[in-house]
């Protein structure tokens, strides 16, 4: 069933009786070529690209809860590719290009909105760093634009540019950045993968791995054993917990990141704004709520809820540049669990166990990476070789010292 404008009108005129489920609810088979653990954005994208780009149809996605119920349903929906380092920038730029063609590829309205992202500059040193970053982005085919305070005020007249501590001295804009409707990403990928024969199995928790003689033969699940040629873990946030079942320790800690949304407002914020000096980022959803967040809570957590000091810190950061926020009611807040890796960059690699693959360590930037993560992981699974844009995301970089430390914080996950 293809979605189209014609079909929407036809259904509108006939009482919306023709819509069916967007994906099937199959029983797990006894064996698949590929079993993907985790039905989040990355897992579903991997399944979609395995089927559509690499022609693999005997694929299952096993999801403990329901599709879109994990981190893909609890993030701040921002997409961008304003990275600095060689290992990262080409990868995230590939992701942004895939976002631009996503809706046509999936035949699904994911509400990709390239409203632009603006990183504010508050000091001369920060301007130097952002000029360098902008150049690195353009060298990798991304777009970057250094904006003056006057240009910024034309677009965002409410910004407090004369803050005593953090005056706004300009900004680095990526006009192709923006936001995407996060749930629609999961649903769109699920539907597209399902239409190519991928089995999406919800309420199916992986409870263990069947490993014999160093080879992974499949997974034990709450719905019985599922055999697999290749098992692909893709459960960022719970990577530590899952891979411990295979006896692995990872260069990852799980931390909680809180996000917030206000009551619905009329359109006030045309793009995404980030306030790096205090760490605050904000966009306005299509429903009108201001969606914002800041730092992680900073200690290991699986609680999916944060604590109040960070709420205070984030709201202070917001008030510093958006004084008008003080008049707005906070509608809700939530916490998601992320893999904070030791250098702040992800891992897409095979493990030392034959047939067992790993994708995780996305820190709190996994959403924007969804299409490229799926593409690179599908490439690794189908060909056995890392994708050309993801060659740096290997486990051995921690042993060889080839860290991709975008923030230069060393092996302290809570600082990335």
């Amino acid at each position: 069933m293809t979605y189209s404008g014609f079909r929407v009108i036809k259904e509108a005129l006939t009482g919306h009786r023709g819509w069916g489920p967007a994906w099937r609810t199959p029983e797990p088979k006894s064996h698949y070529d590929y079993v993907i653990i985790g039905g989040g954005g990355h897992g579903l994208a991997t399944a979609h690209y395995l089927a559509s780009v690499y022609g693999q149809a005997r694929v299952a996605v096993l999801e403990k809860g329901w599709i879109g119920g994990g981190n893909v349903g609890r993030n701040t929906t921002i997409i961008r590719s304003n990275y600095l380092l060689d290992g990262n920038e080409p990868f995230y730029e590939m992701s942004l290009k895939l976002w631009e063609g996503l809706e046509q590829d999936l035949n699904y309205n994911a509400m990709v909105s390239q409203r632009g992202i603006l990183n504010l500059i508050h000091s001369d040193a920060q301007r130097d760093a952002f000029v360098r970053r902008g150049n690195a982005m353009m060298l990798n085919g991304a777009d970057a634009d250094l904006m003056s305070t006057e240009d910024i005020l034309k677009r965002y007249p409410f910004l407090n540019v004369n803050n005593a501590r953090f005056p706004i001295k300009g900004g680095l804009a990526q006009h192709r950045g923006g936001t995407v409707r996060h749930d629609a990403v999961a649903w769109g990928y699920a539907r597209a993968a399902d239409r190519r024969g991928v089995d999406i199995i919800q309420n199916c928790e992986v409870t263990g791995f069947r490993i014999e003689n160093g080879k992974c033969l499949g997974v034990e699940t709450s719905r019985g054993f599922v055999g697999a040629g290749k098992v692909a873990a893709c459960v960022a946030g719970s990577s530590g917990r899952l891979m411990a079942k295979a006896g692995m320790r990872l260069p990852i800690e799980s931390h909680v990141l809180q996000a917030f949304v206000t009551e619905g407002l009329k359109p006030v914020l045309p793009g995404v704004i980030t306030f790096g000096a205090g760490h605050f980022y904000c966009s306005q959803s299509d429903k009108g709520g201001l969606v914002f967040g800041g730092d992680i809570d900073g200690y290991n957590s699986y609680a999916q809820r944060g604590n109040l000091p960070v709420v205070e810190d984030v709201c202070e950061g917001g008030m510093a540049i958006f004084p008008m926020l003080g008049r707005v009611r906070l509608l809700r807040m939530w916490g998601g669990i992320m893999d904070m890796s030791m250098d702040g960059s992800p891992i897409i690699d095979q493990t030392h166990i034959e047939g067992l693959y790993f994708n995780g360590g996305w820190c709190y930037g996994g959403f924007k990476a969804t299409p490229a993560s799926g593409m690179a992981y599908a490439h690794l699974l189908a060909t056995g070789q890392p994708h050309e844009k993801a060659t740096a995301y290997r486990f051995d970089r921690f042993e060889t010292g080839r860290m991709i430390d975008e923030k230069g914080m060393g092996n302290q996950p809570n600082l990335h």
Binding site: R241, A244, L250, G298
Partner: protein, 96 residues
């Protein structure tokens, strides 16, 4: 979160900064060993990351600047035990 400091009593967790797993007390010493690289890679980068009881290092940065070993449940944030890291390290045979 309230951390019950052994010397100062209950303090707000916001006064502290977090380092990570308390196993970091045991830094490998055998830098000349055959497997020194593996030992230091494990020490520096690999973590257990459990969902449940976790022993971890907290620094009372905005207080008396002591290091604490806090035993905390990562699924509920409940703290069951707090000790001075110095005492823990000595009890585990370090710092002689």
């Amino acid at each position: 979160m309230i951390i019950n400091h052994p010397l100062l009593g209950p303090r707000d967790a916001a006064e502290f900064t977090y380092l990570g797993d308390a196993k970091m007390i045991h830094r490998p010493t055998a830098w000349e060993a055959e497997d020194a690289l593996a030992q230091f890679t494990e020490y520096g980068y690999l973590r257990d990351n459990p969902a449940g009881t976790h022993r971890e290092l907290w620094f009372h940065e905005q207080g008396d600047r002591s290091w604490l070993v806090v035993t905390r449940d990562t699924t509920t944030h409940e703290i069951s035990d707090v000790q001075l890291a110095r005492d823990v390290a000595r009890a585990e045979g370090r710092g002689k």
